[in-house]
Symmetry: C2
Subunit: 706 residues, 2 copies
């Protein structure tokens, strides 16, 4: 059973801090709870006593005699810890704390929140909030918030938010669209109940067909991934994750007091959990409408039905922009259309019925398009028609749309002239948007929601004997560099254990040995300076490529010794590394870091000096899945090129996938590794392998006595 059930379906609720003062939240909460039509028992508590909305106000918690499922707490923050204890003593286990003045308000509030959390843990209480707006359930119904009534309309979209203010705005946006919600949950400071707990509940909520989340951060990445993965298999989930930008992230941090993960990790996590990431508020909202109301499309071919050319072209542009396809109408469809459309009309897609199109023409053409097997989704465009009313069009098409087994959206272009039509469509639960572009964007979400369900999310792994792992960990722990950068010798051992391809290097502490090593590994060779405690060789010009003879090796060695001296590092100069020049190939970058929220994060893209400028890079969570491997190959130019883009020769893409899987495994096996980067990984032609030429591994250095 869902442990939060008593919070969502309480048989009885008490408002602690109910107030007769209309300017107090305690008034608003009592007003909304009673006004919501909540069918259970309601109790109001306030030491001042009295009466409110015809109910007695009980002066003390101790006087409550009935069993109570849920307490709504609206008292000053400093009173909360004692209230929790008192309530738990009469058996209350579930709380929504609406008051602010906790973690978000400074040190004092933080201490109160900490104390409350300790009490909750001790008495096994479940708490939503504090500093939240509470819960609305339009079906039960119940409204535990203080948001201005009326409650939102009944609907099938659940909205979970880390911003209370957005609840009020969203309810009001929705009202304007005649749109309803199933549940609305404001999370507040997430002292106990977090976004994942709510997702768990909503996954099995029969009144909810689509879940929308406004997120500023995620409390526990692994918990979220596990629950979201399960929930998204049952219904579509849309997330608006804010704090994408640096400045947004700054604002989110100061706002929630939490450490945000990197944006790339969130994108990778949402992809992994089959969550659709909206890029702005309107998109979040419109996608939710479409996903809650529309059937699943068979394929992504869109037909456009319009009474004017311009809006048709706008929609067609948008189809391509969103990666959908324009349907090619069957000849039968064209024949049927031509039977009652005039010669000047267009019977190709977009179908332009011309301005004279009657409501009946709209209906007939729509039906023909619905019947066309080449058409998967249909956008009906209605600018204010010159000769008919938009509402007459709406009335004609509603039944046809409701009966269609294909997604149909209507763009009512305008405002007051299409207002009646909009009301009619809303009453008939036919989703509609003012601009054609909004319809096509919504189709793209409906299509993407289907595509992501077909991904193969099975995890990839690579097995290394436990003994080897243990000895690598011992080896790593013995190195104590300040900056945590591992020396080549350790890197080579790690790579050997994982059978990762590396271009071998040999240390030569003096000129003579440099000459000897160069001969051993065969020309051409590269030479890299080795300075104790210094990892960025290229920053001081400490790398020389393409040496082809003993003379060149000697003069290069002397030059690098000179460089060390110039940089005042002659004491730390340990000689040079010699490395055989790699066969030319595609330069890629493979790397991994640890994200604060989601843990190990892999990276792949174009390498060499171009990695910064081109930003041809994609990310995936580790352990990596089959579909993630495909994704990063298909979505980077580096990957496309290796895959044999057009008539380019194919590179050894399988070898790259192998490297990614091994790095993914390594990040799990060796938690000491904070960061790894191979740049470049030189990838040869198909079946000829790849080789890491420059590898950097940084480990977590425990900070000893600073």
């Amino acid at each position: 059973m869902d442990p939060l059930a008593p919070m969502f379906e309480p048989r009885s609720v008490v408002v602690i801090g109910a107030s007769q003062d209309k300017s107090k939240l305690g008034y608003g909460v009592a007003r909304n709870l009673i006004g919501s039509g909540y069918p259970g028992e309601i109790y109001l508590v306030n030491p001042r006593g009295g009466e409110l909305f015809g109910k007695p106000i009980i002066p003390s918690i101790d006087l409550l005699e009935k069993e109570i499922d849920l307490a709504l707490v609206v008292v000053r923050a400093e009173l909360v810890p004692n209230i929790l204890i008192a309530c738990s003593q009469i058996g209350i286990k579930h709380f929504i704390i609406l008051t602010s003045g906790f973690k978000e308000s400074g040190d004092e509030g933080k201490a109160i929140e900490y104390a409350s959390k300790k009490i909750a843990d001790e008495y096994r209480l479940r708490i939503l909030g504090p500093n939240c707006v509470g819960i609305i359930d339009t079906h039960l119904p119940i409204d535990t918030t203080f948001i201005q009534p009326p409650m939102p309309l009944k609907g099938n979209i659940a909205f979970v938010t880390q911003s209370g203010a957005l609840s009020a705005a969203l309810i009001d946006y929705a009202r304007g669209e005649g749109l309803g919600f199933s549940k609305l949950i404001s999370l507040g400071n997430q002292m106990d109940v977090d976004e994942s707990d709510i997702l768990y509940t909503l996954a099995d909520d029969s009144t909810t067909k689509a879940i929308v989340m406004y997120l500023e951060t995620i409390q526990n990445g692994n918990k979220f991934l596990e629950i979201a993965d399960n929930a998204s298999a049952k219904k579509p989930i849309i997330a608006l994750k804010v704090g994408r930008s640096n400045s947004g992230q700054q604002a989110a941090i100061s706002h929630t007091g939490s450490l945000a993960g990197t944006d790339a990790a969130f994108t990778a996590a949402f992809r992994r959990a089959n969550i659709l990431r909206a890029s702005n508020t309107r998109e979040m909202f419109n996608w939710a409408i479409a996903l809650a109301e529309l059937p699943e499309p068979r394929d992504n071919r869109v037909a456009i039905l319009t009474n004017a050319g311009g809006p048709g072209v706008i929609a067609a542009d948008s189809v391509e922009h969103h990666g959908l396809r324009m349907a090619v109408l069957s000849t039968e469809t064209q024949k049927k259309l031509s039977q009652f459309l005039s010669e000047a009309a267009s019977i190709n897609n977009p179908v332009d019925m011309l301005a004279s199109a009657s409501p009946e023409t709209y209906r007939k053409c729509l039906r023909i398009l619905i019947e066309d097997p080449n058409v998967d989704m249909i956008c009906v465009i209605a600018p204010p028609p010159p000769l008919f009313s938009a509402s007459a069009i709406a009335d004609q098409v509603i039944e046809t749309i409701k009966a269609a087994q294909k997604p149909v959206l209507v763009s009512l272009m305008g405002s007051s002239l299409v207002q009646d039509a909009k009301i009619n469509l809303n009453l008939g639960r036919v989703p509609n948007f003012p601009y054609p572009e909004d319809c096509i964007n919504a189709f793209s979400a409906v299509w993407k929601n289907k595509v992501i369900r077909m991904q193969n999310q099975s995890l990839e792994s690579y097995s290394v004997p436990q003994n080897d792992i243990e000895s690598l960990r011992t080896l790593i722990s013995n190195y104590k560099y300040d900056d945590g950068v591992l020396p080549y010798e350790v890197i080579e051992k790690i790579f050997m254990s994982y059978k990762l391809p590396i271009q071998p290097m040999r240390l030569a502490p003096n000129e003579e040995l440099a000459v000897q090593r160069a001969k051993e590994i065969e020309y051409q060779v590269a030479m890299k300076i080795s300075i104790f405690g210094m990892s960025h060789k290229s920053d001081i010009g400490g790398v020389i490529l393409d040496l082809g003879s003993e003379n060149e090796v000697r003069s290069a060695y002397r030059y690098l010794e000179l460089r060390a001296n110039e940089f005042g590092k002659i004491q730390e100069f340990q000689g040079v590394y010699l490395q055989k020049m790699a066969t030319p190939g595609h330069e890629c970058i493979v790397g991994a870091t640890r994200d604060a929220v989601f843990g190990p994060l892999l990276m792949f893209g174009s390498g060499g000096i171009e990695v910064e400028g081109k930003r041809d890079i994609e990310f995936a969570l580790a352990p990596i899945t089959k579909s993630d491997l495909d994704f990063i190959v298909q979505n980077t130019w580096a990957g496309k090129r290796l895959n044999g883009y057009r008539n380019h020769p194919k590179g050894d893409i399988e070898s790259v996938k192998g490297v990614l899987i091994k790095v993914s495994q390594m990040m799990s096996d060796l938690p000491e590794i904070k960061e790894i980067e191979m740049n470049p990984l030189i990838v040869g032609e198909d079946h000829s392998g790849s080789s890491a030429v420059d590898v950097r591994i940084v480990i977590d250095v425990p900070r000893e006595k600073e």
Copy 2:
């Protein structure tokens, strides 16, 4: 004087085809004209006679006795040519033809349009339309359309559209926003008056502060550029050019029957003419509101004032997304804010006043932000406040916003709960949008509108003696290859005349000469097959690089001869070209084509095999300007890299700019050239020049007797 003045400010108007039948356009046009409050003389004509709206219907044009400035023609298409003649005989020179059934409807209509155009030319008539919605001027006022009344509100945005249906929709969208227009012009088929003519008129229209254009194509690229350049210096111009995508372009072509230019050329043309290109209908609309109402910002630093964290983060994300900057508030501002905001509030940007913020707090904080010299633009966010009404907030801030010398936009988040506030702001002409992202996007347009005015648009040129140009043209005209691809010898002559850098090639018709040429130009050399009439050498593996000795040259020659044989081209085999291998460097692509609308179009980006996959390419019109040169360097990775991105070594960017200027000039001097491409142009380190390794020039081949 503006030649179209009598069309826009007629002293008298006749409706030809005025109808008593309410289902006819002739009824709607008469109704709107009379109802609009047009102050001039109005005449109605229809052979049936009678009366309409209290005015007599005159049965024949010949019976019109007064001088008439403008005729609104609403008769069947086939009657139009005779009507034009009849009207011109009584001195009418200006017409708006609203009827459809012309070019857009098939061959018959096309013939009628052609006949009408001939008459117009012969009698020097000016015609708007046919197949258009006409003109609305809210200031004169006049309404020559048949769009459902009421007329749009008076305002200062002019809207020019190639889609009549969009006029109706836009008027209605605008009504919903309480927004007005100065003029609205529907162009229809543009038989005579086109988008440029209208732009010319609007540039000096005192009631218009911003111009919005919906374009499917442009009739005459050069005329448009010249007029738009002048108009945009006087007021902001926003264009929504549709048909960006392949499918959109298909739809636009079938819609207007015109040949569309490439989308890249439109982007380049809009940049050249300082026109802001909107990417969708809503953006077009919102930008217009902001540009018509807001003052110019000093810089691009945005402050956000909110009563809730979430929407503040959303806005901050959007600031970065749109390339603006978050303002860093002065310490004085922070001190002032902290004096009356609570400790839990944020006095950093975004300024979060918390949910309890009163309308007065909004006003006070806003005033403080306006006074901060570090703040250039301010977004005020108001979700439905829990304790106050949104309209109380609106009332408090209106005066402050109107008095501010900085752009301020308000995001009223919601619908019915903020409806009153919206009405108040609209009445006070304070622009507002429902989502914070819309506000920030509008700021980005306001900022961009300032930036583009600072560009140096002076043209670059390169002078080649007229004699040289003449002899090149003669040379070119003497070559008659089927595919129009010029042979290397001609290309070399062209490049020499323009002092363009090319890696020289020498033809060797047999093996012995190949050896000799290789020695002359010095190893390493490249060898390219020469087959008469075949230009894509690499398609048949006809290019061999890095030959370093006589033996290698001999075996390469034999191999290529074999290839020619394998492809059945031994008859056409003319030997091989030998070319000295270029010094390694950055591989770029430089090219030019001729756009159907705007003429020569230059192209620059990353070259080599990557040109296709990375799409790292930008375009500019020729002749190129200083700011265009800067633009394509700053907006391609190829350009950034050459310019010394971070600590990458600088390449010879000046040499690349020189190449672009010369190619730009060449496209003007030599109209025979249809297409030129250097791929790669190898660019060396700074001051070391560049060299075109593979050049392809295609000329227009006159089609003789097919």
